[in-house]
């Protein structure tokens, strides 16, 4: 029973991608970036609508699964991709070399990869989805090909990404060797408690974890992130920090809770260390940064650490704590996605006389020259620091609560302490914007309208989330019921 219509969103997006690619190539013109970007945003929205109408079940020989968890992640992935592309609309058009129509097409194909990742029900689907997303990401990182830093970012990402893929594949082949199947369903059947944790299988699991930890840039596989985030063009960095990270975290969650659910005692310890390490490094390494994109890279490493607290709680023996943990994780990633894109919209608007600037000092005196942008940035920075009425506070609260209920008190303590440290550098940006005198170089350029739209949309969500938290919480709850209920 193939039941391929279940995978309609991916199929439709892939067909749209091919058509859009053709529409970009054939006219032989140089101004196709804007129309193609609009077409891609349209295709992403269409795919989102199709995802909302998707049914439940496994399809395509059990290699693909559609459930509430996958749909929740897919909608967020598509929102992230569409917003990241909107961010690029004006940014790319000021630089002739960035305004090429392949940019939106690559984002579209990366989105297909991410959708496959969160819908994977087989180690092979997992790998192909991950590789599709990664390959598009390597090219996007190097997209500004005349910039040495961009080329370096692309090459570094590619080489280290290939290494991570190698680790992941090695782990997957070991899993296949020990269990004899790659299907998640049959892995879950085979790995029952009595003969689950053979030493070889645990080794294989560690390799798989290492490969996936690289993709979400968690400590100790984070070393690529600051360089790549700094070198890649700002809209590309915004994309890296948002949708792919959410997709990889969702994928990790599904892999660990479904096929390897019985090995939670083993992966729980590993993730505890990864989570604590990411939070600590993200808090302390960001303090000395002057480049704001590097700072956001360390911030995203730290945020992955906080999100993984939820996954550590999902290793608990108590089913209630498990679902609490996964829910906190999904909730955290959803809010992180929108907060990050908003902050990057501000970074993308940072230009002086047409040239992008990236130092924290360049924001000095922003409150006097552009109070609107300064206020949005204040909202995002306070939300990331976890200041109470904003969305970032609730997401942190949920993961800490899940950790305490699961008995991981130390992890929660580390989380709270590193939040305080991280608050220092978030608040420092606010101080620079509002209280520092503008530098000699003059004020920043006026921000383009498309970035204002992104800032306002994500900013309103972040600021007013507490007014109506119901829908997101309900959606996260439904998603959790599908995999950890």
């Amino acid at each position: 029973m193939m039941n391929w219509t279940l995978a309609l969103p991916e199929a439709a997006l892939a067909c749209a991608g091919l058509a859009i690619l053709g529409a970009g190539v054939l006219p032989r013109r140089h101004d196709m970036f804007f129309p193609i970007s609009m077409a891609v945003i349209g295709a992403l929205v269409l795919a989102g609508v199709l995802v909302l109408g998707q049914g439940d079940g496994a399809a395509l020989a059990g290699q693909y699964v559609s459930d509430a968890f996958a749909r929740f992640s897919k909608v967020l992935v598509l929102i992230g991709a569409a917003l990241a592309l909107t961010l690029a609309l004006d940014f790319n058009q000021t630089d002739r070399d960035l305004a090429r129509f392949e940019y939106p097409v690559l984002i579209l194909f990366a989105a297909i990869g991410m959708m496959l990742m969160v819908s994977a029900n087989d180690l092979m689907t997992l790998y192909l989805g991950l590789e599709l997303q990664s390959l598009a990401a390597y090219v996007l990182a190097a997209f500004n090909r005349d910039s040495e830093r961009s080329a370096e970012a692309g090459l570094k990402y590619f080489v280290l990404g290939a290494l991570a893929s190698g680790l992941l594949l090695y782990g997957m082949s070991l899993v296949y060797g020990f269990v004899g199947t790659t299907s998640f369903d049959r892995l879950a059947e085979a790995l029952t408690a009595e003969h689950a944790a053979s030493l070889g299988l645990v080794t294989a699991l560690v390799f798989v974890l290492a490969g996936l930890a690289f993709k979400i840039s968690a400590v100790p596989f984070h070393m690529w992130a600051p360089d790549v985030y700094e070198g890649a063009p700002t809209p590309v960095t915004a994309f890296f920090a948002s949708a792919p990270k959410l997709a990889a975290v969702a994928l990790l969650t599904r892999v660990l809770t479904q096929p390897f659910g019985e090995l939670s005692a083993q992966w729980g310890q590993v993730l505890w260390l990864v989570s604590a390490g990411s939070m600590i490094l993200g808090a302390f390494a960001a303090i000395g940064q002057r480049n704001i994109k590097r700072l956001m890279a360390y911030s995203s490493i730290g945020n992955v650490g906080y999100a993984l607290i939820g996954l550590v709680a999902a290793a608990s023996a108590d089913p209630a704590v498990r679902s609490e943990g996964v829910r906190a994780l999904l909730f955290y990633m959803a809010i992180y996605l929108l907060m990050t894109i908003g902050a990057f919209a501000v970074l993308a608007a940072m230009r002086r006389r047409g040239r992008p600037v990236e130092e924290i000092e360049d924001l000095a005196g922003l409150a006097r020259s552009d109070i609107g942008m300064a206020v949005w940035m204040l909202v995002f920075m306070f939300a990331m620091a976890g200041v109470p009425p904003l969305a970032g506070f609730w997401s942190k609260l949920f993961v800490f609560r899940a950790a305490i209920e699961g008995g991981y008190v130390w992890l929660a303590v580390i989380g709270v302490l590193t939040s305080v440290v991280a608050a220092y550098y978030y608040v420092r940006i606010v101080r620079v914007m509002f209280f520092d005198a503008p530098g000699a170089a003059g004020a920043l350029d006026a921000r383009p309208a498309s970035l204002t739209v992104v800032m306002a949309a994500t900013g309103l969500f972040t600021a007013l989330f507490s007014v109506a938290p119901g829908p997101l919480l309900a959606a996260a709850q439904a998603a959790v019921a599908a995999i950890a209920g």
């Binding site: 020989a61 690559l106 192909l128």
Partner: protein, 233 residues
């Protein structure tokens, strides 16, 4: 009987040409022997009942890989005599590594056990025995794993887009053929008919070449204007 003869013939030629690949002094000959070896291996596959593998061997290895080798060998000026210079110096190390590998191989083969079902399976190369192995492979590839197959195809497409995006640069001043413009040209724009007086010659009428087309005229007038300017100074 016939199959046995074919088997030994193919095997003998295969081994001989494989040996020649290593021994031949001229690298082009090596590649040609490699192609011969591939063809004979394909013949062996046919005898064993693997017709799909036989065809794919010819198409992929002979058609693509070996031809690629041939291109590389012919295009790169590799001095094979110099590459062999250090043979005597490196021979002991090479022999040592080869010896270790041989011992390992013997260990592996020494503890090799055939599964009891293996001889039976070897006689039926087709898994279901109701379909040919091409069809059986096609079912696995295009029916069971269609999602993976298509995803792999999209990955290759992205790799191709990436290679083009990162490396293709349009040079300024390249002249492209615009077929539509060529077809749309009317005879009146290109051909001039004049009555030429007998014995007068073309020079006196002032036509040695057709009048330049609009954009060419513009390109021509540019340096001319500069020339006039210089004259006035």
């Amino acid at each position: 009987m016939l199959a046995a003869v074919a088997f030994y013939a193919f095997s003998a030629v295969l081994i001989a040409s494989a040996a020649m690949v290593v021994v031949a002094r001229n690298p082009v000959h090596s590649v040609l022997f490699l192609i011969l070896a591939f063809f004979n291996a394909a013949g062996l596959m046919l005898i064993a009942g693997g017709e799909f593998l036989a065809m794919i061997l010819v198409i992929v290895y002979v058609g693509a890989v070996a031809v690629l080798f041939l291109f590389v060998v012919m295009m790169l000026d590799v001095d094979f005599a110099r590459m062999r210079e250090g043979f005597q110096r490196y021979a002991p190390v090479g022999a040592l590594v080869g010896g270790v590998l041989l011992v390992e191989l013997l260990f592996v083969l020494g503890s090799w056990r055939f599964a009891p079902e293996a001889p039976g399976l070897r006689l039926s190369p087709n898994p279901g025995a109701t379909v040919g192995n091409t069809e059986a492979l096609a079912r696995i590839l295009y029916t069971d794993n269609v999602l993976l197959f298509q995803a792999a195809g999209v990955i290759l497409l992205v790799a191709m887009i990436g290679a083009i995006v990162l490396t293709l640069r349009e040079r300024p001043g390249t002249r492209r053929q615009v077929i539509a413009a060529q077809v749309a040209r009317a005879p009146a724009e290109t051909v001039v008919l004049r009555q030429v007086p007998i014995g007068a010659g073309l020079k006196n009428i002032g036509i040695l070449r057709p009048p330049p087309a609009a954009e060419e005229r513009e390109a021509l007038s540019e340096p001319e204007r500069h020339g006039h300017g210089g004259g006035h100074h």
